[in-house]
């Protein structure tokens, strides 16, 4: 990735972080991703709601004590007031029911936002956040990091170029099966918020993992989900949340599909995979082997496409740092989101046109489409799997099918 804009800017972008204190995998992931291409410097944070943990986490992250805050509101206010060296971007990686309030506090003060997924806990919040982003003129990037793998970008470019013809079938699954997800954690203090219905609702499996699969399917095919018929199941009886979701999908242009999100696919590791079939062939990708995209042209032997070649799509090349054959992984894909955001911000700050291939990161609108699917799936399940309109925004004047 070119460092021309970065060198012209002459320094890293100043980043703040809300959430993600010591012990948080997602916080550490965001920090590594932000560092990877040298475009961000973490200078301020409100890393925990617990003041002692917030302070210790700031020390560990080498954040100066006067910029380690106890509330996001105070952080937004004081950082915005630092005209010379305040943060330019904030990463929000708290539980999703707090995203609207936190992101809005920064957006209204002119600070761009990188937000973990799902965008919010409810569609209502998501729509409010979309409006807050639009009113602020700032950007909000949603961390659907899996769409930033180079071979996912390649798949999207191939579908758009007609390599498999018109898309007929889309199958996305995110079926997790490690013990910490499959087994019930009896100790409430140690239980992750994903199992807490108050944080993300009963269908949290859709917000936590299903939303990634949904975004991946939309990103690669360019097709929106129009209707959903859902079956949600609670296999572990002690849980208040569903731990498995099977969604039949009707997508735009007559495509049909399936989305499977699960916490109980025992024996799986992370379990994210996508298959797309069109009139003239198929594409297949699995996150645990992220550098392989299988292209199956109809009637020909399958081909294994890997990063690094000059013949790949520009967005895929943009997301690749090392020569062919050197594996890149999860953290590098996550960093691709950060690097795209940085390059768009740098272009804005320098009055230059943004690299068009840096503009593929998910936005608040993508997040709202995700919440719309989740709420439609819950409604469908309650109506015993009735087909339910999942579009967002719904076309003007159209009621859409509701159970």
């Amino acid at each position: 990735v070119s460092v021309e804009l970065l060198a012209r800017y002459g320094r890293r972008l100043r980043l703040g972080m809300v959430g993600g204190g010591i012990g948080s995998v997602i916080g550490e992931t965001h920090r590594i991703a932000a560092r990877l291409d040298n475009r961000f410097e973490l200078v301020a944070g409100c890393l925990s709601r617990d003041p002692e943990r917030a302070r210790a986490s700031a020390v560990a992250a080498l954040i100066p004590p006067d910029r380690a805050y106890n509330s996001h509101e105070e952080m937004a206010e004081r950082e915005a007031a630092r005209a010379e060296d305040g943060i330019e971007v904030v990463c929000v990686c708290t539980p999703p029911d707090s995203h609207l309030e936190i992101a809005r506090a920064f957006l209204t003060r002119g600070i761009d936002v990188i937000c973990d997924k799902p965008l919010t806990a409810t569609l209502e919040d998501a729509v409010a956040l979309v409006e807050a982003v639009r009113a602020s003129g700032r950007l909000l990037a949603l961390a659907h990091n899996y769409a930033a793998y180079p071979m996912v970008r390649q798949a999207r470019a191939m579908v758009a170029a007609g390599a498999i013809g018109a898309v007929r079938l889309v199958h996305a699954e995110f079926a997790v099966g490690v013990p910490a997800m499959v087994r019930h954690e009896p100790e409430p203090a140690r239980r992750h918020w994903r199992f807490d219905a108050d944080v993300l609702g009963e269908a949290s499996v859709l917000g936590e993992v299903g939303s990634h699969a949904h975004h991946l399917a939309r990103f690669v095919t360019g097709l929106e989900v129009h209707e959903v018929a859902a079956e949600l199941t609670r296999f572990v009886p002690e849980r208040r949340v569903y731990d498995d979701a099977q969604l039949n999908l009707r997508l735009a242009d007559g495509a049909r599909g399936h989305l499977w999100a699960s916490y109980v696919a025992a024996g799986n590791e992370h379990g994210l995979a996508l298959r797309v079939h069109g009139e003239r062939g198929g594409l297949q990708w699995s996150q645990e082997r992220p550098a392989e995209l299988w292209h199956m042209p109809l009637g020909e032997p399958p081909r294994r496409i890997t990063p690094g070649g000059d013949d790949l799509a520009p967005a895929a090349r943009r997301g690749t740092r090392v020569p062919k054959g050197h594996p890149e992984g999860f953290l590098e894909a996550f960093a691709n989101v950060y690097t795209d955001v940085a390059d768009v911000l740098l272009a804005r700050k320098l009055g230059a046109p943004p690299d068009p291939h840096a503009l593929g990161f998910p936005t608040a609108e993508d997040g709202a489409a995700g919440l719309a699917l989740i709420e439609a799936a819950v409604a469908s399940h309650r109506a015993d799997g009735a087909w339910t309109d999942a579009r967002w925004p719904r076309p003007a004047g159209e009621q859409g099918r509701r159970p």
């Binding site: 995998v25 550490e28 040298n38 020569p323 050197h326």
Partner: protein
């Protein structure tokens, strides 16, 4: 991501401050300098503050802006950089040498003599006498010296080493390492700068595939089976591309002091391989297999049982594999993470030395100056054996005479 499986508790301790890193090589048009700068910042243990980024002084200064190196610390040559940085109270702690092979000895030696710790690309030198000279000077100066055998940084390679050491496959009988590429299957050196220097004996040294990739395979074999070096080797070198002055295929047989037999096949002319690195180890109680293209998995077959696939990040791995792992199982790690593991150990060693504590007590997986010299010894011995039609020759470094 899965909080329950977070590996952070096992990570190496962080230095008290970011260590100051210098870079020699890596200017515009070069490649691996950026990879090193990225890996060094990955875990936030280093800040790149000085550089002699090119042998062309103009380009060296122009490239410094790409890394935010201050103009007064962007040097036109490495001699000036070593002298001036050694004299500064805030001078660099450690330097990464990422220039073409023929310059490593002079550059690394200069920093060593100034008491600055070094991370050096492989092969460490182009002549054995230079390698042994570095061993002596490193020992005299008492500095930390790391050699970039990156594959030793992969967590599942460390798991393999630990399993062998714990006797989990019994006594090792056989080790087989292949490292296959296809990028030099044609006379690409005519119009590709990377290919040009790597096939030029003046800059690459006497080994082609030998120096560029076989030394990686050799270190990997030794590292996993727990031998410092091979006792004897027999080599067959070939040059398939007409006009090429160095070998582009190397087939080596090895005998280890402990009785194990080994094979290394390094090729740059094997179509279908981007970087096809694979190691297989067989003992009297079972076998292990690891491949770079699926680096997060290690296949273990206890004799007489079904093979099983161990995943990076799984809870029951050896501590050395945990320590080298950042994110949970199912989230792939890759090249930067592996190289960053070498940098994490470098940071630990540098800090221990700066504290005046004894390095000898540190159990590090960071390949050292002796390992670098062993690689150079492998290159020279292989060339001689091949000249003598595959005669078995002593491959050991015989460091007894080196003070």
């Amino acid at each position: 991501v899965n909080e329950g499986a977070y590996q952070g508790r096992d990570r190496l301790p962080m230095p008290r401050r970011r260590l100051r890193l210098g870079l020699v090589g890596g200017g515009r048009g070069a490649f691996f300098g950026r990879v090193h700068a990225t890996a060094a910042r990955h875990d936030d243990r280093f800040e790149l503050v000085a550089g002699a980024l090119s042998s062309d002084p103009e380009r060296a200064r122009a490239s410094a802006a790409d890394y935010f190196i201050a103009p007064e610390r962007a040097y036109g040559n490495y001699q000036e950089m070593a002298a001036r940085e050694a004299a500064r109270p805030d001078g660099i702690d450690v330097v990464a040498v990422v220039t073409p092979n023929h310059t490593h000895h002079a550059i690394a030696g200069t920093f060593v003599d100034h008491g600055i710790d070094v991370m050096c690309e492989k092969p460490m030198t182009t002549e054995l006498a230079d390698a042994l000279d570095l061993v002596r000077r490193v020992r005299t100066a008492g500095v930390v010296f790391g050699v970039v055998y990156t594959f030793a940084g992969y967590p599942m390679v460390r798991q393999a080493r630990a399993m062998v050491a714990a006797g989990e496959i019994g006594t090792v009988r056989l080790v087989d390492v292949e490292i296959l590429q296809d990028w030099l299957a044609t006379a690409r050196e005519a119009d590709d700068a990377q290919a040009a220097w790597r096939t030029d004996p003046e800059r690459a040294g006497p080994g082609g595939a030998l120096g560029d990739i076989a030394v990686h395979a050799y270190h990997l074999a030794c590292y996993v089976i727990g031998e410092a070096e091979a006792a004897l080797l027999s080599a067959q070198l070939s040059t398939f591309v007409p006009g090429r002055r160095l070998d582009d295929d190397a087939q080596l047989q090895l005998r280890f002091p402990g009785g194990a037999r080994g094979r290394i096949w390094a090729s740059q002319v094997a179509p279908g391989n981007e970087l096809g690195l694979r190691i297989r180890v067989y003992g009297d109680g079972g076998g292990l297999e690891w491949a770079l293209q699926t680096p997060n998995y290690l296949r273990h077959t206890p004799l007489g049982e079904h093979p099983r696939t161990l995943g990076r990040g799984a809870p029951d791995l050896h501590p050395s594999a945990h320590r080298a792992s950042r994110i949970p199982v199912g989230h792939p790690e890759g090249h930067f993470d592996a190289l960053a593991n070498l940098y994490a150990e470098l940071a630990l060693a540098v800090e221990v030395r700066r504290d005046g504590r004894d390095l000898a007590g540190l159990i590090l997986d960071l390949p050292g100056v002796e390992d670098g010299a062993r690689g150079v010894r492998l290159i020279e011995t292989s060339i001689e054996s091949s000249r003598q039609d595959g005669r078995w020759l002593g491959a050991g470094l015989a460091l007894q005479g080196v003070p």
